[in-house]
Symmetry: C2
Subunit: 512 residues, 2 copies
């Protein structure tokens, strides 16, 4: 085990405070609660300027905590981002990428053969070393075959699904996605867990909320530190909300889903306060990839800001000062390292870790200079360092797809930037100043001193990164209809086992 | 005089409170302070999601007051918007438009012959009826010929300029713009009031700040209710800031200007608190037309949301509840009617007034259904009613201009919407749902029930508006180099009178 429990300043502080009060030391590290949204964008929260301002609970969470306007996911797509969160490593290291084409996004549909390798150390497994009980509620997305399940990778409990809630499927060409409780399926989407595709009604967020509340209460009663990963998916297509929220938003069904998630988060934070554990629970809110993009360019699937800059709020009353904004460049991978730090653990030393400990930024307002890398597959598309972002490759999607109406930048078109062919700029990257030009509309002139200065700073950082990089075995290359969720563990008890088709491994098709 | 002083509920309330306290009644109406920015956009404030979040004072003003996410100016250009603010009337009524071309924006450059007609009743003139002392600090822009000056239209004091701070000029083809104190010029931009075009350094915001602070203190000492119209222009090209602010923003010089304005507003609000008059001073912050547009389409000069939706904050401690958001569709013209209401006055009854009294929205959270009209020249381009916006004409600018690099929608291009030819949709307007689609990217299908319902609601509102409309005499048709600021009043004392060229009236050219 590469992670070692060490006494951090938090433990010391806690013990000192306890000593001052003349009571027994309470060396329990803080609970960790990660709220991960699905396809929700930077521009979806009132506090980030969404005009309808329908996220009062998240806006309050920001007012009581710290807002990160410059926080990034690790990939413009779901599965790799989620692997990055739980491993603290870029998807290119953990294997959550494809080499089937140049610069292609890939994820874990039902046909995928790969998943999270056993060699990867996941956050819940490491947190066990500090006595944490851990649970994932919602979407896993790191592989659905049994060896990849959350409980094989450190989680104590799971309630949720291994893949996206696409469907309904016919159980012949494809089965509906299973819902698991721990090791076994307890039903399937559109069957035991209905989603009305016409009205958008589904009770899933309420179920996920209850799972969270129950887990928190149970761990609190047991006096065990907990790690809860609340990976809800109501804002991912097909978007859903429960009846009390349907039709309540100014923004349509997508807004209904957000309002229900916002309300649920309000209830979770209220429970923490009511149980008296708010000051001992670190909460972080963010999302897995671009959605509504606010002032930024393009969205999900792209390495423009709209695809990877995410809403992010840290909340830890009594520790993180209220109402602060941090301009630290943050990454979803930092949640790995920060969580370990909170637990008094050090990150594994036998591998490259990309996550940064954000506690200095959160608690002392200290900023750390660090790059943000934007990958598509195994291609480094762009990097941000300070205020400067350099694009080495530009691509939205192919002309062929675009002409079919698939548009990752609706209403946006920056000539020479939002290109529909893969354009190489590795020699002379397109460089933007994200402070003056957050929308990536006006590349710096390559003849300017500013351009040369920025390039001079960026080049060695990229070189160092690329020279040291050891890519993992790509997990997202091979697909096989036989591996779909035909007969998940537990299907016998439910009488819901389906017969898989013949095994035919093939290269997955990743068009963009 | 069409406005009549009437005892409003404010007076009654104030008198009742005073009576309860056993002190003499204090029937003084609240002071009114309008903070009007120049070319600042919806997306420029932290509270509206600007990523650098460099407006702590405005963000605090919003936290202590009421934010309006759906607030509009009356025109996508400066002069007509400012005329609308002070008259409570659409520019088409007050004459602040041109008929020189179809759907053309027009303003008041130095060559303009027209200005605010004597027949218009301006807010400061009306407020005199309730005993207000009034001052304009900054840009007037309602005509620079002597008969149009602020002191001829109800202001008691003026410090500022009649036109934009363009320049420097050579005093042969065109003179530099004068700065006035009251009736007389006290110097000119780039001469007595320097702006360094290379570094962006100018002390003007500091001068405007001191003018505001001094006026407030003086009126407070005199126990006179005041109306202060703080019409600063640092964010209008050429953008400027004073030395302590230059280079301090993440956003470049434009951000430096915003930081200085934000800091100044913080100082003004602090003075109100320090003088103990915050609870008796109504403050409203907004801007004259589009700038940085956040999630919206296009900017200044256009009738898309980016051109006319503005940041707006109301602040009146002890009266407007703190931390509220109002989804009232608001207009810059409402500041006219609301100010009269605050003063216990009624709007003129002998003419159409487009402004709404916002006090019910601000004090009781009551929403009023009302349309927002978007004009370009005398052409009704669009209307918003509730969540629906219907475009009757679309146009950004001509292909000819666009090919020369003039782009009012940089990086944005919505096919069939951001058109470079004037496209008529009067029979079947393009309709957008601004809640689901604030960026005006996805027109409703004309075959949908939603489209038909929206059209059915919008059509009679537009018909009624157009049938009742009496356009004013257009003021922005005729230009003449002889009327430029060659010899403003007071130039003799300064030895700064220039000789005008021969008078040659001609049609002004309005290309977009």
């Amino acid at each position: 085990m590469a992670a070692v429990a060490v006494a951090t300043r938090w433990w010391l502080l806690l013990m000192l405070s306890a000593a001052e009060l003349g009571v027994a030391p309470a060396p329990q590290p803080p609970n960790i609660l990660l709220l991960l949204m699905d396809d929700m964008g930077w521009g979806d929260l009132g506090v980030y300027g969404e005009p309808s301002r329908e996220t009062p609970n998240l806006d309050r969470m920001a007012a009581e905590g710290m807002l990160f306007p410059n926080f990034y996911t690790a990939n413009p797509l779901c599965s790799p981002s989620r692997a990055a969160l739980l491993t603290g490593r870029l998807p290119i290291r953990s294997g959550f990428y494809t080499t089937n084409g140049h610069a292609r996004n890939a994820y874990t549909p039902q046909e995928i053969v790969g998943g999270i390798p056993d060699s990867e150390l996941l956050l819940p497994a490491l947190l066990k070393g500090a006595g944490y009980a851990s649970k994932i509620v919602g979407k896993w997305h790191l592989g659905h075959r049994p060896q990849f399940h959350p409980l094989k990778h450190g989680f104590d409990e799971w309630f949720g699904s291994p893949n996206c809630h696409f469907g309904p499927y016919d159980n012949k060409a494809r089965p509906n996605i299973p819902m698991y409780r721990d090791q076994e399926m307890v039903g399937r989407f559109y069957e035991e867990f209905p989603i009305n595709l016409k009205t958008g009604e589904a009770n899933l967020t309420q179920i996920y909320l209850q799972e969270a509340l129950e887990f928190i209460q149970r761990q609190q009663a047991a006096h065990r530190p907990f790690f809860l990963y609340w990976a809800v998916d109501a804002t991912h297509a097909p978007v859903y909300a429960s009846k009390p929220f349907l039709g309540t938003s100014q923004r349509g069904r997508y807004g209904d889903a957000i309002r229900e998630l916002d309300d649920s988060i309000g209830r979770i934070l209220r429970l923490l306060r009511d149980l008296g554990i708010a000051e001992n629970t670190f909460v972080f809110f963010t999302s897995d990839n671009g959605g509504s993009n606010g002032p930024f360019l393009c969205g999900k699937q792209t390495t423009f800001e709209g695809g990877m800059r995410e809403p992010a709020i840290a909340w830890w009353p009594g520790h993180i000062p209220a109402g602060q904004v941090s301009h630290q460049l943050g990454s979803i991978m930092d949640l790995f390292t920060t969580s370990l730090s909170l637990a008094g653990l050090e990150p594994p030393r036998d591998r490259a870790i990309d996550g940064l400990d954000l506690l200095p930024a959160m608690l002392q307002g200290r900023l750390t200079d660090r790059p943000i890398f934007y990958y598509r597959g195994n291609t480094l598309m762009a990097v941000t360092l300070g205020q400067y972002k350099a694009h080495f490759w530009t691509w939205t999607n192919s002309w062929e797809e675009f002409k079919q109406g698939i548009d990752f930048c609706p209403g946006q078109n920056v000539s020479g930037v939002t290109t529909h062919s893969q354009e190489e700029h590795t020699k002379l990257p397109l460089i933007f100043h994200l402070g003056r030009d957050p929308g990536e509309r006006f590349p710096l002139s390559i003849a300017s001193i500013e351009y040369l200065d920025a390039l001079r700073r960026i080049t060695p950082v990229v070189q160092q990164h690329q020279e040291a990089l050891v890519p993992g075995q790509p997990q997202l290359n091979v697909c096989n209809r036989a591996v779909m969720n035909w007969a998940p563990p537990g299907c016998e008890k439910l009488g819901k086992c389906l017969t898989p088709p013949e095994s035919v491994p093939e290269k997955c098709s990743w068009p963009h």
